[in-house]
Symmetry: none
Subunit: 178 residues, 6 copies
């Protein structure tokens, strides 16, 4: 099945998330290297992953995309927590550990940020990252996000408290950057 591409980049394509992706998604969301970095701590079985697919992915309150490189799924990215009157949404993503450091996350994030500002008319996009996730923080900063706050001890991971860094991006900043 040739991919149905929604947004395309140089090295990655972003496409809708399909039922056939559930196995990959479930394996990743149970991988500690993935869940520790995104604030999830519970095991997810196939039935629960399917419920997420039906309620969230197939719903219309969030935007969800699979990040694909050379036809291989490598992670997911999307926008959530929409506040339309204030034209705001939050960016969320994860890349499978075996595909880190290849630039996939950064490219996917640029596409989705541009889509959010240029097609959804957003005024502001925010993102949150745990302090220890330096790769993600560097990714956001390189795209043009500005750190706006540090929520101290925002998340408990690996037996310790970690700050949560909040980033924001405004449409004017994006336009002047592009």
């Amino acid at each position: 099945m040739p991919d149905t591409v929604f947004l395309s980049g140089d090295h990655v394509d972003l496409r809708p998330i399909e039922e056939d992706d559930l196995e990959f998604l479930q394996r990743q969301i149970n991988d500690p290297r993935v869940w520790r970095a995104i604030g999830r701590q519970q095991p997810v079985n196939a039935a629960q992953e399917r419920e997420f697919f039906e309620n969230v992915v197939c719903g219309d309150e969030t935007v969800n995309l699979m990040v694909v490189a050379d036809g291989t799924p490598v992670g997911t990215i999307g926008l959530n927590s929409f506040d339309w009157p204030s034209r705001y949404a939050e960016l969320g993503y994860w890349i499978a550990p075996e595909h880190h450091r290849k630039g996939y996350g950064g490219e996917a994030a640029r596409r989705v940020v541009g889509y959010g500002f240029d097609q959804l008319g957003l005024h502001r996009i925010a993102a949150r990252v745990f302090a220890f996730n330096e790769a993600s923080r560097g990714l956001l900063e390189s795209i043009g996000f500005t750190q706006e706050g540090v929520h101290r001890d925002g998340e408990f991971v690996d037996g310790e408290w970690h700050d949560v860094h909040w980033y924001g991006y405004l449409e004017d900043e994006w336009r002047s950057r592009s």
Copy 2:
């Protein structure tokens, strides 16, 4: 499966939309070259496309047809927003990018407009086009639509506001033209 033809033209045939078409439809509706021009901005996965098929295509409130050229699906066309007491409907269509500039859209539109006036007894058919979609505007004008209004800044696409041009066609105009 030989096509079940509903309306036929010289170069295209218009037939009902079938379940086997879902893959083609889903791929097209996620293609930015298609969705940017018709006011859709969200990714659509197979489950969501199927839901559209079941609720809208298989419903009885709109007319939906697949445009086929040489046995190949090239786009869809139809009538929606029916107001029967006022004998009004809106024309909508899209042709896959790889099949542009072959005259398929124009021929399909003539067939459906004629069908609307001559078989559904419509008095008026309207259509809306984004200002930048010159091909579509030219198509409507060449068929005989009259521009009736410009809704300023009606749609936000690619980071900018675009006017939406509204066209109307009355049955007397069609009859005198044919």
Copy 3:
């Protein structure tokens, strides 16, 4: 029960529509002097009015308000057909015939238009009026709407075709006006 006021004006208040209003709403929507001007042509019984109340008024896709003068309901007003990515909504209203020409519609419309631009962040508000409804056309123009188009023979009323005038208002126009 003192009114729960959502937006207040000098002579009218706008409050949520409540179950106790159903009788008034049903009486008005069946009055030809009301339905002829807003494109409704079907009788509505109490059960149907209640269904409208539960599905539309108590839903979250539209904004619906009762226009009240001196504690008396005189009509309804609201915003519908929201397109959030394009920051657009359509204004709709009716005032009971016995309360015409008192300025209630104009005052209510000003409040809702300001609310749409200032609190919902809309970029554009549109409205449609039948050609024969000169009072409503004058109301929209006096508030600052610009006529953007005439949909010829858009509505069939009283045995004749009537044009539908479309008006638009942009946020910059509202801001420079206030």
Copy 4:
């Protein structure tokens, strides 16, 4: 009905929210002086307020309390967005305009913050305030909250963008302060 007090203060008591409170709650949540400051922009009718009462207040995912002074309801306060593994919750409250500047909000907030740390074992309590709400910002700072970030243009109110100030409070800070 003598109040069922859950937490008591010198000038205010905090009690569970009851069905009889719905009228007061609905009137307040539709008052622009209340909704403009808490990010709500839609009218709420009695049926919608009841639905909120049944789903949220009577549910078990949030803590909701009525603030009462001299037997009179003056506002609500509570904790929401619980993340138990990270021992986090967000504080939310509003006081009716006619009861501002009497210290009710501050006293209620102190009680709930202490309850959150001492009875629910929270490690961190956060709160967000719009930049123009100086009274609320002063209230949080006087209780001991620390500003942790400014989400620029986080909310659109009254035709302008307003920053959203985020505050945090850690259990050690509370303990050393008490």
Copy 5:
């Protein structure tokens, strides 16, 4: 309504819990002097208290009794967590603060313990008490319960960890004592 007595004592009677008791129960369960000692920390409104009444009190999985002194409700007592094959249940009770130190709890507990052994054929009755609740610990010991364990830091109350003392009573001990 003269009390329907289920078990009677010298100073207290134990009767079924009725709908008319909901107001008293709700007021008590929201009183910090009551909930802090029994491991409950959430406010309970009338609807939630009624739900407890319908699901638990009117169910058949637990035994629930109102403790009444001179016709006045002073607290509740009962048996829960039944394990019939092992002939075990847990004793739970609370007395309203204004009725402490009158011996009501001790008398009620003796009646229910005897009922559990002599009428329900239990082999073992257990009870748990927070370390700071010396009155309750004394009550259990005076009746004949034996401390069987200390669950360290079992409960977080008033900003500190408190041990939970577990007591047990076996039918032979009860029989030799009576």
Copy 6:
């Protein structure tokens, strides 16, 4: 299907419990060598096992994991009876008789205990074991649990009363041990 691993050890992996596991689970839970040691005494048919799967495993109130060695399911382990305000949970597990004495239970328990303290922020984890289950008691003590109480005659098995030993583990103890 390669296992979706949630927590991994040297000899065992812990993964979510899936529908395909129901046959194994049902066979084990009906085996007297398993149910006698964990306080279950009722036969369980496939429909009942499925109901447990849907209500408990697929729910969000407990953590449930399959213990797998060399790709073979050997038992289950998890945390239940969560009391979030007191940051407490109870550890439960069983290993199929044919896989006893291979160290699987101990390794699985260490992983889950560490996960409970380090990822769920628990302060205390408890466990209960029947007196005759010396293997399980040794397992808990070797991991670092402290015996906190003996509930005399807590369980009736094989025609006799058996004490139930309660163990507790506090986060500081775990941290100093690791």
